[in-house]
Point group: D2
Chain length 366, copies 4
C-alpha cells in the first residue's frame, strides 16, 4: 500500500517529487457549487513558497498552480479537482552526492530499505516540497469552511526557546513577521537567534499553534475517529513534526481534575466554559469553544556543518551537505498545518451529517 | 458515519456501553494459524481490570472474555474473531442524576448535542470501559508481533510532577508498582502524592511512555499513513489523552539540527545511530532503532468535590458526582496504550508487504 | 486483510461460523433516534430461518436475535449496534467426513488453500448461515429507508425454467408462495419441478428480482462508486450468486439505442420516463424511477447423489454428502438480497449528502 | 463524497472531463522496482483511442500519455504515479444545445439533480473519455500481473444477436477484427449489421467476455470482498455496462446441482476440474481454473435519429443530437474491461498476502 491518499469523504490524492516534473493533488469529494479559482489557491501557496525571506531556501520557484479539472465557469462541479504545480528549478546536480550516503535526520536510509532504491534528487518524495499538494487542497478546504463560518488560523508560537508573550501578541501582526509570529518583539529576538545559528551552519525548530473558531458542537466520530485523533494524524503526517497536543496538552498531565476540568456556565443564555483546558474537544467531539492545538517542529535536518554518517559501501564517513536549505522550516510550515487541519475538519464535518435520524430525514425531504 | 472501526488490513470493530449488556470487539484480518485462546486475551484484560489496587474504581467486574468465532481448535482460521465481555455490575441507579446535567471534562454535553440524547448510565459509550475492546484486540495484535520478534512495552513515566529517574528505572519492576512505574522509589512518592489528592477529593494525570523493540526498517506509508501519524491517531483516540510525542518530541523544537540529528554509524558491521532523538522513525518510516513515544493523560474528570456546571434546563448549578471512579486512570491506561500501538503496528507491517516488486514476486512464487 | 466489513458510512462488521457459538454483526453508523427493537429484527430473520417449508433444510434453529449494544430505551444512540444469534443445532458429527475431501461447488478447496486449513463443520464461515448477519443489519437499514419513504422489495422471478408471468403476478401474493413467487400458478409448477428434482437427489437454482421504490434522484458517486456498481458488489457477495443485471440487463446488449433509450416526458408537470430499460439508474445515479435488478442463483451445491471429487490424500474418490441441506436456496435468499440492497442504499444515500455546497451550508445553519 | 478513487491497497484516483483540459489518474500503491514507461502505457491507450476504425467517433485525439511522477530511470519508486492525457479536440460548440435539455439514456438529468448544474460539454465527467484514466492505470496493473504470470484477456463475444462461434474462434485473431471479435466470420456479419443500423441512425450493444489465466488459488476476501463481488463492482462501474456474470452465470439459474457442480479430479498429480461452471471462483475465492466473466454493454445512447425528451423549461421536446459519436462502444470498451479487471486483481492479490501467519512470518524473516 502507499499512503498518499488522505480522508474519507473529502479525500486528497497527492503526488510528486522534489525534482520530478511537478507536484500535484486531486481533491475528491468537494461539493458542487463552491466558488474557486487559481487565484484563491495561489494565495495559500504563496505563503509556503520558498525565497520569501532570507530565512528560507534560495531555490527559486514560482509555484504557480493550474487547475486541470473539476470546475466549470469558476464553480466546482462535484467532480475531482486536479491541481498541478510544475517544478522549474531542478538543479539535480546538487544532489548527486547524496545518492551514495544517508543524511542524518532524513529519510534516505529508510526509503532505501523500504523501496530498494530511491529518487535521491532533493529528497524525492520525502522532500518538504510535497506539502504543495497539501496546501493546494487546504485552500479548497478553507474555502468550504469559510462558507460554514469556520476559520483556521495558525502561527509560530516559539522558535528555539523564544516564545511569544500572549499578552503582547496581536494575531493580525503575524503577517508582518518573517516567521508568522504574532508578537513582533519575540519575532525580532528570534531573528537574532536564528542568524546566530546560521553563522554556526546550524538549524533550529519551533512550535506552531493553530486555533479553529466557529466549529459547531458534536463533530468527531468516537471511538476511533475522534476529532483530536484525526487531527493528530493529519498534523503528525507533516514532515518534521515530532509531537502534537490539544488544549493544556502535556501540562494537563501535571494538573488536577479540579483545575483541569472546564466548568460549564450559562452567560446571557449562552453555554460557555470558564476555561479551555480541553482545547475545544470533549470525548473526541468539538465542544463549541475554540479548538487549540500545538505541533512541535524539529530543526531542519539539512545543515551545512560537517556531520558523521555512513555510505552505501557500509563505511563511516564525514559529509558536508550541499544544496539550498531552509535554516528553519517552521514559518513555511504554518500554512501547511492550517491546510491539514482544514482538510480534516471538512472531512469530519461531512462525516457528522448522519449522526441524527431527524436531521437525515429532514435533509431528504427536500 | 460512526467511528468504531479502526485499521485498514488488520481491523477492529468495537461496540458496547458502560452499563449495557457488555463490551465486545470483532477482529477482522488476523492471519490464519495463530495460536490464541481466552487465557492469552485474559492476561491482557486483567491488567486493565478495575479493583486491582486501592487507586482504581471499586466497581467489581471479573471482565471475563469469551471468544465467539474465528478460531478452531485454538488456532485462528483467518475469519473474524468476535470477543465479548459481559457487564456484571450495572448499578445504573448511581447515574440517574447525571442524566440531567453535564459533568465538566466529560462527553455528556457533546454527546447530547451530537446525537440528540445519550445513554447516560456510566458515560455510556464514552466510558473508559470501552477500552476493554481495545485491549482484547491488542492481545491478538501482540501475539502476532511476538511471532515476528517485535515487542511493545509501556509504563508510567510520570504522575503529576513525579517522574521516574531513568538511571534508577528497572523495566522488570513495573509490575511491582501499583502504577506500572518502573522506578519503585518514584512509585512510592507517587502513592503519597495521590493519597494527598484523594483526600482533597481530587484526581491527577500523568505520562505514559511506550517502547517498541524489534521493528524492521521501512514500515510506514508516506506521505499520509506515516508510522508516527497513524500511531498518533491510535493513541490520541484513547479517552483522556491530550498529547503525544515521538523521540525528543516537544524538546526537539528547542534543539538545533547539529544536536537533534542522529548520526548513523557502523559498529561491528551493524548500522546504528549514536542517539535516538527521532524516536525510531525517520520520514514516517521505522528506522530500525527503538520506537519511543509518550502520551499525556489528563486527570480523571470525575472528581468527588463540588463543581460548577449547567443542567438541561439551562441553569447554572453546583454538583457532587456520585459513583465509583478512579482517582487516576494512568496505570490502567498503560495496557490500553500498548494495545493501540500493537494494533497499529500489525496493520502497518501488513501494509508494508507490497512496497517492493521483488518481494511481491517472490511471495507469489510459493 | 479479511473482507468481513462492508460499507463506508453505514458499515457492517459480520462474524460467525455455521457450527461455532453463533453468528453476529455490528452495525456502525446508524443515526441516533431510530426506533428499533429485537422484534423488528426478528421479522426479517424469520424470513430466512430454516425449516419454514418442506423445501428448506430440516436443521432446527430458532435464530433468536439479541441486541447487545447501541440502543437505549428502544432508540438507537448513534453508537455501534451489536446483534447476535447463538447457534443451537451444532450436529458437527454430520460433518466429520467432509474434513477430508473437497465438495464440488463448495469453498472447501479454496479455503484450505487460502488459510492452510479450515473449520469444516457445516462449511464454517463459508456457510449460508453467515447471511443471518446480513439480514439482521438489513433490518436496520430497511427501517432507515422506511423513514425516508423508500422500500426494497424482492421476490423469486424464476426457479429453473419456470418464470413468473408478469401479467398474472400480484406482489402481495409473494408471502403465500413457499418460494416467495408472486405468481401462485408459477409457484405451483415450481413445486412440482422441485419435488421431481428432489427425488433425483438433485438441486435447482433460480432468479431473484428486486425492486426499489421511492429513491430520490442523484444517489450514486461516480465514477467508481456508482449506485449500480456498489449494488452489484453487494449482491454478488452473497454466496451462490453468479450474475447480476439492471433494467434490461443482458437483453440490452441485443437492443438498439432507439429502443433501449428511455425517453423523458413531463406528465402533469412530473418528469417521467416512457420506459425503464435503465432499471432506474443513469450514469451510475438513481434517476427517480424504480430501481430494478436481478440476481442469478446457482443450484445448491450440496446434493445427495453421488459425486466425483478428490480427497486431501490427493486421491480421486466418489462421495455422498450427508447432512441437512436445502434443495433450493433461492426462497431463503430473497430477504438476503433485500438486505444487501437496503444496506447499500443507506450507505449511498448518506454519501450523497455532500454533493452540493448549498445543501451542506443549509445543513450546518441549524 | 465523490467516488473517483478505487481500490484498497492498489488505488487509483481518476480525474478529468471530456472537454476540460485533460484526463488523468494517480496510481497509489504500485510496488517499487517495476519497469514502466510511457510507451507501455501508450500501447494500452491506443486500443481505446477514437478514430481507429470507421465504427468509432471521428473525434481526433492523439491521447498521448505523460508520466509526471513515481518513476526514476524507468523504474517505479513506490510513490504515486501520476499520468495525464491532455485533451486536444475541444469542439465545445457542438455541445451548446445539450446544455438546455436531457439526452435520453445519458446522465444529463441525474447530474443536474445531484450537483445543481453540470459541465455539459461532451458529457463532462460522465463521458466515456474518463476511461482513459482506467486504461492508463490498467496498463500498470497488467505489468504487475505479467510479473506474476497472470494474464487478462478480453474480447467481444457478441454484437447485437451475432455471437462468436467458440469452435471457430481464434483468440489471436481478435486484433484483426475492428470489433476485437476473435471469430472473423462473426466479425464480418457484425460489420453488416452495424452498417445497417448506422444507416438507420441507430446504435447497437454487445457482450464482452474476459478470461484471466494464471491466478493462484485462494485470492478473494470473504464474506464481502469476494473476488467476484469486487470484480462485479469494477466492471459495473464502467459506463454502459448493465449486467455481469461469472462462469455459467444466468444459465446456472436454470441448471441443476448435479450438472452445475464442477467435479474435482487429479490428472497426472494436478488438481483439475472437469468443467468450469464456476468461472474460476468458488466461495468468492479463485479456484485455480480460468476466471471467466461477461459484461453486457448497452447500445450507445447518443443516436442521430430524432428522440423525444424534455428541456430545462419543463417542456416536452424533440431533439436531434449533434456531435461525434460511436455507433457502438463495445470494441473500445474491451481494453477498459481488461483494465478494471487487472486493477482489481492486483488489489486483491495484495490483500491476500496476509491470509496465513506462516507466510507473514516468513516474509518478515528476510
Amino acid at each position: 500500500m502507499s499512503g498518499s491518499i488522505y480522508g474519507n469523504l473529502f479525500r486528497i490524492s497527492s503526488w510528486g517529487e522534489s525534482h520530478g516534473k511537478g507536484i500535484g493533488v486531486v481533491v475528491d469529494g468537494c461539493p458542487a457549487g463552491l466558488s474557486i479559482d487559481e487565484a484563491i489557491i495561489q494565495t495559500f501557496l504563496d505563503r509556503r513558497k520558498p525565497g520569501q525571506t532570507k530565512y528560507s531556501t534560495p531555490r527559486v520557484e514560482s509555484d504557480k498552480v493550474e487547475i486541470l479539472s473539476g470546475t466549470f465557469e469558476n464553480l466546482t462541479t462535484g467532480t475531482p479537482i486536479s491541481m498541478v504545480v510544475m517544478n522549474q528549478s531542478q538543479r539535480s546536480s546538487d544532489y548527486s552526492d547524496i545518492a551514495s550516503y544517508y543524511r542524518p535526520g532524513h529519510a534516505d536510509y529508510t526509503y532505501d530499505e523500504k523501496y530498494g532504491f530511491r529518487d535521491y534528487r532533493g529528497g524525492g518524495r520525502s522532500s518538504g516540497r510535497e506539502t504543495i499538494a497539501r496546501v493546494a487542497a487546504g485552500a479548497i478546504a478553507s474555502s468550504i469552511l469559510k462558507e460554514l463560518g469556520i476559520s483556521v488560523f495558525a502561527y509560530t508560537k516559539s522558535i528555539g526557546n523564544i516564545t511569544i508573550n500572549e499578552s503582547k501578541a496581536n494575531l493580525d501582526d503575524r503577517m508582518k513577521s518573517p516567521f508568522y509570529m504574532p508578537d513582533l518583539e519575540a519575532s525580532l529576538k528570534a531573528e537574532d537567534f536564528l542568524q546566530e545559528q546560521m553563522l554556526k551552519k546550524d538549524s533550529v525548530g519551533g512550535i506552531i499553534e493553530c486555533i479553529v473558531t466557529g466549529m459547531p458542537v458534536g463533530v468527531g466520530e468516537p471511538n476511533f475517529d475522534k476529532l483530536d485523533a484525526n487531527l493528530a494524524k493529519a498534523v503528525m503526517s507533516i514532515g518534521s513534526v515530532k509531537g502534537i497536543e490539544f488544549g493544556s496538552g502535556f501540562e494537563s498531565a501535571n494538573s488536577t481534575g479540579s483545575i483541569n476540568n472546564d466548568n460549564f456556565r450559562y452567560v446571557n443564555g449562552i453555554l460557555t466554559k470558564d476555561t479551555n483546558h480541553s482545547g475545544g474537544i470533549l470525548g473526541g467531539l468539538s465542544d463549541g469553544s475554540d479548538i487549540v492545538l500545538r505541533a512541535a517542529i524539529k530543526p531542519t535536518p539539512s545543515i551545512a556543518s560537517t556531520q558523521e554518517t555512513v555510505n552505501k559501501d557500509n563505511e563511516n564517513i564525514s559529509i558536508n551537505i550541499k544544496g539550498r536549505h531552509d535554516p528553519i522550516i517552521v514559518p513555511r510550515a504554518v500554512v501547511v498545518v492550517e491546510s491539514m487541519v482544514a482538510i480534516t475538519l471538512v472531512d469530519m464535518l461531512f462525516m457528522s451529517m448522519t449522526s441524527r435520524m431527524d436531521n437525515v430525514k429532514e435533509f431528504f425531504k427536500k
